[in-house]
């Protein structure tokens, strides 16, 4: 009665074939990652050192370190976060907890989706028009960070909203029935239990912001500056732009230099992503319901 039939046999063969093919396809996607990292390590690692990270470029940017670019990227990311996190988290809270299902809410959601799809070069031109020229900030960290903030706002909003909606509705109903206002409910129950999701979104935003070139190119980042920025109104160098510049604009650059810069940039992104995964794993382990 349980003897294997022809059909069973064929099913098992197809199952094995499917499993192998899908595994191959998955492995294939590791290849580019490994290759990129491998090549960067091989060609760029020789130049890496503490000095590389802490001194400025010299000799027409063909020698020396990347310190000003590193500091610049940190400035840009920090200011962008300062703007996009409150705005993004606030917007997500409104959309998830307060917004009624009417035409206005639908338009807002549509706007967010569209904002996410705008090419970064268009963001760059918007940044020039809105922040550099119209608001008069000039080419500065402020203008560049605001451009980056606008660009990464959808990421923060969407991941925050998902984190908020992962909190069961039953908790909110329990609080409302006790006479709590929506804000009291958000403050006591919803927000504290969404922090991990929000943090994940923020960290992902950081890794994206650190690597963008176009939005900062015309709005505040400069090819080379002999001094470090002192306020948000100054221009600055940045890692992503620096990589572009020494790869294409500067003559006589030793072959290893761009690889080393790229390695540091990717290193930053990898560290961010690892931090995000660590945060998520830790908080997921603390199962709360």
């Amino acid at each position: 009665m349980f003897k294997a039939t022809q059909l069973n046999h064929r099913n098992r063969q197809v199952e094995s074939l499917a499993k192998v093919l899908l595994l191959l396809v998955t492995v294939v996607l590791i290849v580019p990652v490994v290759t990129i990292l491998g090549v960067l390590l091989m060609r760029g690692a020789p130049l890496l050192s503490i000095e590389f990270l802490t001194t400025a470029p010299t000799n027409g940017m063909t020698e020396g370190g990347i310190f000003p670019a590193l500091i610049g990227t940190i400035w840009l990311v920090a200011v962008a976060l300062l703007v996009s996190v409150p705005v993004g988290v606030g917007a997500a809270i409104y959309l998830s907890e307060y917004a009624p299902d009417n035409w206005l809410t639908r338009i807002i959601n549509l706007a967010i989706i569209n904002l996410a799809g705008v090419p970064s070069i268009v963001h760059a031109l918007f940044g020039v028009g809105a922040f550099v020229l119209f608001l008069g900030f000039g080419t500065s960290i402020l203008a560049a960070s605001l451009t980056l903030a606008v660009m990464t706002l959808p990421v923060v909003i969407v991941s925050t909203r998902e984190a908020l909606q992962a909190v069961p509705q039953a908790f909110r109903e329990a609080c409302w029935n006790m006479g709590a206002t929506r804000w009291q409910t958000i403050r006591s129950v919803v927000l504290p239990n969404s922090i991990s999701g929000i943090l994940t979104g923020v960290i992902l935003e950081v890794s994206r912001t650190a690597g963008e070139t176009a939005p900062i190119m015309f709005t505040g980042a400069a090819f080379f500056l002999p001094f470090l920025p002192e306020s948000v109104y100054d221009q600055t160098m940045a890692m992503s732009l620096h990589l572009f510049v020494i790869s294409t604009q500067v003559p006589g650059v030793p072959e290893a230099l761009p690889y080393a810069v790229a390695l540091v940039l990717i290193g930053m992104v990898l560290v961010m992503n690892a931090a995000s995964i660590a945060v998520r794993t830790y908080l997921r382990g603390k199962k709360k319901w």
Binding site: N177, M178, G179, A180, Q184
Partner: protein, 249 residues
């Protein structure tokens, strides 16, 4: 607190779930509402603490008076809800410590000092028959307690509001029989202090606990009467007799 409903109709959007309900609940009685699913029993409860305001599409017409006052005249609905305790079908332990679960309502009402909160928390947990099981682990997460404990935690939360009216919506469906019995004992004790409206689809539960019972059927309040006579067959409406006899449900 007495509850009076006059010509109450409830709708969600255009769908009418309850119409023409006239009933009164006396102070300090346990009043049961029985009936099959989708009769409007839960919707009735939700109007009492004005949850129609927080539910999209829900609206009601007619008059509802609690403690002699029309609930439409309360401008601060949060204050209204604070005076009414609600227990849901599914046990809800908030992802806070047991202590914070029960202290939440007093904190929302402005009581912040530990010295003031401690006695409230203990009293509420004792009245909900949960104190002995949690007194040594008040910092444990409320959402990780067992189902029966979470339901008693919900009752403790409701009692921390010092309500005059307690609404229970099929509280025993997700809870084991032993806990159900304990909660029924709690309700019997609470009856001397507050008014209790108990929605249940367990007909025997109504018989055990309630002084008077209302029978709801597909959006209509078919009959209201004293529980004992009703259950022994002295009904005004055939449908009530059929339901109590288990002929449908």
């Amino acid at each position: 607190m007495e509850v009076v409903a006059r010509d109450l109709s409830v709708r969600y959007g255009r769908k009418v779930v309850l119409s023409g309900v006239n009933l009164g609940v006396r102070e300090r009685e346990i009043f049961a509402i029985i009936g099959p699913a989708n009769s409007g029993k839960t919707s009735f409860l939700r109007v009492l603490n004005r949850m129609d305001e927080l539910t999209t599409g829900m609206s009601y017409s007619g008059q509802v008076e609690i403690g002699g006052r029309d609930v439409r005249t309360w401008r601060n609905l949060y204050a209204l809800r604070r005076r009414i305790g609600v227990v849901f079908p599914l046990p809800v332990g908030l992802p806070l410590s047991v202590y914070d679960n029960v202290a939440l309502a007093p904190r929302l009402a402005g009581i912040t000092r530990r010295a003031d909160l401690d006695p409230i928390v203990e009293r509420s947990l004792r009245r909900a028959a949960l104190w002995d099981e949690v007194k040594d682990r008040l910092s444990a997460l409320g959402s990780l307690l067992s189902g029966g404990q979470q339901q008693r935690l919900t009752i403790a939360r409701a009692l921390s509001q010092e309500p005059k009216l307690l609404l229970l919506d099929e509280f025993s469906i997700a809870v084991d029989p032993v806990t159900t019995m304990r909660i029924e004992d709690v309700l019997k004790e609470l009856r001397s202090e507050l008014t209790i409206i108990l929605v249940t689809n367990l007909v025997q539960q109504a018989q055990r606990l309630a002084q008077r019972t209302a029978f709801f059927l597909t959006g209509e309040c078919v009959e209201i009467g004293d529980t004992e006579p009703m259950f022994s067959g002295q009904v005004e409406d055939e449908r009530t007799r059929d339901y109590l006899g288990g002929r449908f449900g």
